[in-house]
């Protein structure tokens, strides 16, 4: 009996410690934005909204959030549309060596999009005259996300029975009708997953915009946040917390939406 009680206590101690480990760093994001004298530590704030005003008056803060939206929207649309088309046909038409190719691309993307290819990507974009182009940067981000997106979506499409499409075809549906009436509606949860995944990934991407967008008027929030930090040697603590909060809100909203609708689980997803 005491053994059982001790185990319960131990269990809750572990859970509490883990919860604190994950939660404590985030508290700053809740307190510092509204503190009249913001510092790096966590404390009960002297409530004020003056930081919010200061942030809105910053010359690049709002621009950079808009830039982030443009960049992410473009990258997300490109990734989702191209991945959906590719995943559908890869899932339905037998192509020899398909799985090996997908694995190789997936491996390559996890390597290359990191840092290994930053030099050639920089040089490539320089020569194409696409430095400071938001669309160009979105394409690079999209290209990096595509293999994983195709991989996840193909897995999803594989789980959709072919008999749905065959049934529609027997009843006389043309290819476009099969796609519009059956495939897209059935694949909606998978596509939603990819939209959210691509958006969150692109939203937090620092390296590529940092490399490819040198004009501060075109930089997204990810890059600007870094410049705020370095400005004049010391961090601007009246702007950074509010800005971080604003910058985080879209992904948190997306996360809440997804976990409410679909639950945050792997859709069959990565199998052994």
């Amino acid at each position: 009996m005491t053994g059982f009680v001790l185990r319960r206590i131990g269990f809750y101690v572990v859970i509490t410690v883990v919860l604190a480990f994950f939660a404590v760093p985030m508290l700053w994001l809740a307190s510092a934005p509204f503190d009249a004298r913001p510092g790096l530590g966590i404390r009960w704030p002297d409530w004020t909204l003056s930081n919010v005003r200061t942030t809105f008056e910053h010359p690049f803060a709002l621009t950079s959030l808009v830039n982030s939206l443009i960049l992410c929207a473009a990258a997300t649309v490109v990734t989702t549309v191209l991945a959906a088309l590719a995943a559908y046909s890869l899932s339905r038409v037998r192509i020899p060596g398909r799985d090996v190719l997908l694995y190789l691309l997936l491996l390559l993307s996890s390597v290359v999009t990191g840092t290994a290819a930053m030099v050639p990507i920089f040089v490539l974009m320089l020569q194409l005259g696409l430095i400071n182009s938001q669309l160009g940067t979105a394409l690079v981000i999209g290209g990096g996300m595509l293999p994983a997106a195709i991989f996840i979506l193909k897995d999803f499409m594989d789980s959709v029975p072919r008999s749905y499409e065959e049934s529609a075809r027997v009843f006389g549906a043309r290819p476009r009708q099969v796609l519009g009436h059956v495939v897209l509606p059935v694949a909606r949860p998978g596509i939603a997953t990819i939209v959210v995944w691509a958006f969150v990934n692109a939203w937090g991407n620092f390296l590529l915009p940092f490399l490819l967008l040198r004009d501060v008027g075109k930089q997204p929030a990810a890059v600007l946040l870094r410049t705020l930090n370095d400005e004049g040697g010391s961090a601007n603590l009246h702007v950074i917390p509010v800005f971080s909060l604003l910058y985080s809100i879209p992904v948190v909203l997306l996360y809440l939406m997804v976990s409410k609708r679909y639950g945050f689980r792997f859709h069959g997803g990565i199998k052994s």
């Binding site: 049934s167 075809r169 009843f171």
Partner: protein, 344 residues
């Protein structure tokens, strides 16, 4: 309404598997026809070739007066019910049933009309606004049937229509399906691996193996006179007794007994269904009862006559294990198969 005419059809998959092999078949207008065989025998591929979901590599498929061999599925005037029913999960029952009309761009009113008419015919009233996921297995099956009937096609194709139902429901659905087909008088081809289902439902049965038809006939013909040992093994809920025997001087010797038989002398296999053996005091086969299996109103008794012989006996004649028993085959129900496995 239309007959189906299949001539010299082969269907070869890209990986080289010849699933249907140079097959001829004619299904009459309004007939309820069964394609029966073990899994991998090519029956489903044949059905899909009729539907146009697989392309025939050779031969022609005709429906009515039309050669449909090169036509896409939607232009063949066929309707199909898939094994998993393929009900679209994002549409209501009504939308599913009316889908063939939606494809043809019929008006919303016409679609709703058709859905309501079908739901009445197939006892789906009151379920029209549900999603397929909220239906029982039987209701799903009837929805899929309703959708196929709503397509107003010349030919109805059913892939294992009853296999996803549990045993009790299956009997009910079987009767329902037969009645529906009689009322519609729609040429219907269905695929099944369950011989009892084929016997109970079909006007005629094609027993298939390795992409070819082994026997084509009415349920009675197929049950009483299997054309070869493959069919003999496959048909019947209790396995047919297949006993080694020898033909000499107008008699066949097997299991320690002799019966008159014509034909050339030589090794044969004697086939007698357990249902065609009766207990008789002067029975030609005798042996000791080794196992008794209760089948409800009858029992399957295994006799040891040198080789094991199965006998189906009515409940009031059920023997005890260890009893000595004599049995006789019903007249004309002893089949002889030659060394090639064909009926002699």
């Amino acid at each position: 309404m239309a007959a189906i005419d299949i001539a010299g059809v082969s269907t070869v998959y890209p990986n080289g598997v010849r699933a249907v092999d140079d097959l001829d078949l004619a299904v009459a207008d309004g007939e309820l026809f069964a394609l029966l065989g073990p899994s991998g025998c090519g029956k489903t591929t044949l059905l899909r070739t009729i539907a146009g979901l697989e392309q025939a590599s050779a031969g022609t498929v005709g429906i009515g007066a039309l050669d449909v061999t090169r036509l896409p599925p939607g232009d063949r005037r066929v309707a199909m019910v898939f094994q998993d029913y393929a009900l679209f999960p994002h549409m209501t029952v009504a939308e599913n049933i009316a889908y063939p009309l939606r494809v043809r761009r019929a008006s919303k009113a016409a679609q709703r009309d058709a859905a309501e008419r079908m739901s009445g015919d197939l006892s789906l009233t009151g379920l029209l606004d549900r999603r397929p996921g909220q239906l029982s297995g039987g209701q799903q099956q009837r929805t899929a049937l309703a959708r196929a009937v709503a397509a107003d096609a010349d030919v109805l194709l059913l892939d294992e229509p009853l296999s996803n139902l549990d045993a009790r429901l299956r009997l009910e659905a079987r009767t329902f399906l037969k009645r529906l087909q009689r009322e519609l008088a729609l040429t219907t081809v269905f695929v099944t691996h369950d011989q009892a289902e084929a016997l109970a439902l079909a006007d005629r049965i094609a027993v298939m193996d390795a992409g070819r038809i082994r026997q084509l006939g009415t349920p009675r013909e197929v049950f009483q006179r299997p054309a070869d040992m493959f069919v003999a093994n496959f048909i019947g809920s209790t396995p047919m007794n297949l006993l080694p025997g020898t033909v000499v001087d107008g008699q066949v010797e097997f299991a320690g007994t002799r019966l008159p038989a014509s034909g050339v002398p030589g090794e044969v296999t004697v086939g007698i269904r357990p249902e065609y053996l009766r207990i008789a005091p002067d029975g030609v086969l005798s042996g000791r009862v080794s196992i008794v299996e209760n089948l409800g109103v009858t029992s399957l008794v295994t006799l040891d006559c040198g080789v094991p012989v199965g006998v189906v006996v009515p409940e009031h004649e059920e023997p005890a294990v260890g009893d000595e028993l004599r049995v006789s085959p019903a007249p004309g129900r002893v089949l002889l198969y030659g060394e090639d496995g064909r009926l002699r």
